[in-house]
Point group: C2
Chain length 163, copies 2
């Protein structure tokens, strides 16, 4: 099936997921972006980014925002797609990939967060970590920014430890 | 913590999740509804229903729609809440409950679909199946209705088997 080859993964990360993360950052939001790439054609079908700050959303992470922007599609289409995301997908987004039987997740990094990688792998999903330095630094810097850790904790269901 | 007691679960199902499912059905949508109940107070904080047909949504299932309707809340609040849902939660919604560390899922039935119950239980979430006959019949009848099976398959990532 795949016309897309692994040497193209970094380009998809750069021009779709990373770009969306930077867009979110420029809006004052959490810098996580994602894109849905149709593997037989290489078409980027949809892109999205975290919308917690911008839309007050609990469910629009990068991956789910891309899926929402995609809209309804012919059945089985997502089985031919990769989810490209700047960060290791949380349990919600991992479960979403399982729901739609997305066979490949390409992630920018998992230094800043490790989500449901083991879960999706246990269901046969291929996970490729690009260990992208620019993407990693973007997220690390944002978490260290004023209020970054607090908003980040909210996004991943954690509670800020009181000093 | 819980002021809510198990004898109240059927009432929460009836006046929140089931009611939302019937609302969705009346709109021509998939009849799955959910509610988020604050366990220490018994307050219904938010309600929602599947929005695939109404909004063309891939990510607004009953549970996630309720979460989106809830909006941003103080950190840790969802750790004190139950997710009340008419149907066994799919992997997306199960993962969402894990993300926000929701400790209790009250479901109406799992005769029509079994989602990520084992997954959430393996993370310590309590799952209570009310085996609600009215809720079960509502879903069974809808799936058997014209186009029901096809839209349902789309909602759970399945592919309609060609006759």
């Amino acid at each position: 099936m795949p016309a897309v080859t692994p040497d193209q993964y970094p380009q998809f990360m750069r021009v779709s997921a990373h770009e969306q993360a930077l867009k979110s950052l420029s809006e004052g939001g959490i810098p996580i972006g994602a894109a849905i790439v149709h593997l037989p054609t290489g078409d980027v079908l949809a892109r999205g980014h975290n919308q917690r700050v911008q839309m007050g959303s609990n469910i629009r992470h990068g991956e789910t925002d891309a899926l929402e922007n995609l809209g309804r599609v012919p059945e089985g289409l997502l089985r031919e797609c990769a989810m490209v995301t700047t960060l290791s997908p949380c349990f919600m987004c991992s479960g979403t990939c399982l729901l739609y039987k997305i066979p490949l997740i390409i992630l920018g990094e998992n230094d800043n967060f490790v989500g449901g990688e083991d879960l999706v792998r246990s269901h046969g999903v291929e996970v490729v970590n690009l260990k992208d330095e620019a993407v990693t630094k973007m997220m690390t810097d944002w978490i260290a920014s004023p209020n970054g850790q607090k908003i980040w904790n909210e996004d991943i269901g954690e509670v800020t430890v009181k000093a």
